[in-house]
């Protein structure tokens, strides 16, 4: 399947695409917050006021694509936690007011499927609608679903996206779990740090997908995923993915790896980037957006622009320069917490 359009609200200026001309936001705090547009003009004001951040970012990046592509039929959304801010606000009311009379707004906004539902509602899309909450593999779940829908021949244009919001609450929980660093960021390229923990990010990235196209940005050829693997599983999955797509190791010219600055997580990326694909260029993206569960959607947003020949992003993301070959076959490899691992094969 092919990407024909995309829109993102990430911790960089992706919405107005300043990031493509070198306007990078240098984050030096504990949380990489998304740079949001004002949304005015396409989300009704009354509605916008009630929307939580996840819904707002989701609708804010998904709806413009629906407006530009009226023939989109279905909406597929990935979000591990949905509207966590509203969720805990509602929970706080339950506890603080001892289950008193509560207003349902936070409850309605917090349910993960309210993002896909709102996009369908505002975009008047009565086709397929789904929300995946499968942690670090939720976005990959949407991609495979879209691929299946196209194979089944019942759809010809879909909107697919991944959204995660940071709230104090979600940050607290993940911080207590030891996922994040305890010191603010000291250097721009922090991915080589020898410390534990990542920096927390957030964002929304949406894509318009079609099964066939002459004018497209790049092609999502295949993907695979595994949970709780060992290194042999990863090697096997890589080999299977390449062979069923008629490719060899040498055909992969670029890998986009999910290095997040957490020394505990590097070995998996080192293995793919240094041992398996020794001759591929290595790109990173989490120094731009931080770590969050559906961030492979951000990786896909950046990679799509690399395929358009964006040189500024190319040098900003390049970790290992190993050849002069043009970008043709790229593999995104990401894992969340070393538990959920995924590969996305993207071609020119």
């Amino acid at each position: 399947m092919y990407i024909t359009d995309l829109k993102a609200i990430l911790p960089q200026d992706t919405y107005t695409e300043g990031v493509l001309t070198g306007q990078f936001k240098e984050h030096n705090e504990m949380v990489f917050s998304a740079i949001e547009p004002n949304y005015i003009g396409f989300i009704p004001k009354g509605l916008l006021r009630r929307m939580g951040k996840a819904v707002r970012m989701g609708v804010g990046s998904g709806l413009p694509l629906i407006n530009d592509h009226k023939d989109i039929e279905g909406v597929l959304v990935a979000t591990a936690n949905g509207g966590m801010e509203d969720c805990i606000k509602f929970l706080n009311q339950i506890v603080d007011y001892d289950e008193g009379i509560l207003t349902p707004t936070n409850f309605v906004q917090s349910t993960p499927n309210s993002i896909a539902a709102q996009i369908a509602l505002l975009g008047k899309k009565q086709g397929y609608n789904i929300t995946y909450t499968n942690g670090g593999l939720a976005f990959e779940n949407t991609l495979l679903d879209a691929m299946l829908l196209f194979e089944e021949g019942l759809h010809s244009k879909l909107l697919v996206g991944g959204i995660e919001e940071v709230s104090d609450y979600s940050y607290n929980i993940d911080f207590l779990l030891g996922k994040y660093k305890t010191e603010p960021i000291s250097k721009e390229w922090y991915l080589d740090s020898n410390s534990v923990g990542a920096y927390c990010g957030e964002g929304a990235a949406f894509f318009v997908l079609v099964p066939e196209s002459k004018e497209y940005l790049c092609r999502i050829k295949d993907l695979d995923q595994i949970t709780y693997p060992n290194e042999a599983d990863i090697d096997q999955l890589t080999a299977n993915l390449l062979s069923r797509n008629g490719l060899t190791l040498a055909d992969i010219d670029s890998v986009v790896l999910g290095y997040n600055g957490d020394v505990r997580h590097n070995k998996w990326y080192d293995h793919i980037g240094d041992s398996v694909f020794k001759k591929a260029n290595v790109f990173c993206f989490k120094h731009l957006v931080g770590e969050y569960r559906v961030c492979s959607s951000a990786a896909l947003w950046f990679l799509t622009h690399l395929f358009q020949g964006n040189k500024v992003l190319y040098s900003k993301m390049l970790k290992e320069d190993r050849h002069e070959r043009p970008l043709k076959n790229a593999l995104i490899y990401n894992h969340f917490d070393a538990d959920q691992h995924s590969f996305i094969l993207v071609q020119k």
Binding site: I130, G135, L176, T227, Q236
Partner: protein, 397 residues
Amino acid sequence: MQRVYITGLGVISSLGAGKEANLKRLCNGQSGIGRASIFESKYTESLFFGEVNLSDDSLKEVTNNQDSVDLSRTALLAFFAAEEAIEQAGLSKGDLSSYRTGIISSSTVGGMCNTVSLYNDANRKEKPSTFIDSYADAEHTMRLIKRYGIKGYSSTINTACSSSANAIMLGARLIRSGRLDRVIVGGSDALAKYTVNGFNAMMILSDEPCTPFDANRKGLTLGEGAGYMILESERVVDNNRVLAEVIGYGNASDAYHPSTTSPESIGPTLAMQKALALGGVKADEIDYINAHGTGTVNNDETELIGFSNIFDQPPIFNSTKSYTGHTLSAAGVIESIYCVFSLLFNEVYPSLGIKHPMKGFASKANETYLSGIEIKHAMSNSFGFGGNCTSIIFKKA
């Protein structure tokens, strides 16, 4: 295109732990709805619930998790139902760890049923609770993956009340496409202050046990439970293990309102139409519908409008939520399992609590235990908040 067979079923609900207990009470027309004795909430005095009659400790015992300190009730319910389904299908360790075996689960509340510890952890009130890593919607899926060593495709879905129906649909599609040989599909939801207060704030909870399709219905009754099905490809299954076949499914968005269905029943009608088209069956070939039938004024009315959009004469239908309450994400799969019971035993269970059938509709819900009738095709409807509508058609093996 591979055919999709059901080879294992597992269920836990307010009707009991396991298929037999559930079946027995369905046949006897005995509801599981009553006053909650385990779930703690201010509303246990004023509202009725479809509670699973086992404490967390008892659930830990029956699922061999005695030493666990961090499993949510959602995960414990999931363990029980998944184990029963896997056992019935006779899946070996090797089957389970094959790259071609997957799991698709669903939940709406996930580990958030531990309301107080989530409150403390999210607000950093105290040192981390033992549940700190258990709140995610996908928590129970991850636990099942770890327990059974599943290495293939995994997913967790949350489309509110249609969640596990969508899990069945996705599992069937992955098998049909040849990507998987076997897949565990279903969902789990425990009673939670979060959902009880949420639905209460929306003012759609009944202060009496729910009475779906009654003219004077007052809203829904929340329940809890889990259900799992094992789906297998015709490639790997031998016919004597087949319980039923998944032949059709459809999903559509009503795109009308965040929490009510359109008066024309657009989403439900589209979902049923898609399922019929894919299943290659005509409307009059459907012998039985397990309706979504929540007992809210809006749902039951629009669902019947949907029926009249599709059927000249709607088939026999009931709402088994009158037994279990609304088990949210688990409702789709639990009710699908009840559909398989109807296919296997040629019987339909009485819809409970109807005093006065709804006016203005030609058909009314089945109120008696029917046996010895030929049920060849059964349809299960699940419609979720946000307008997410899914319909699935099962065929007798």
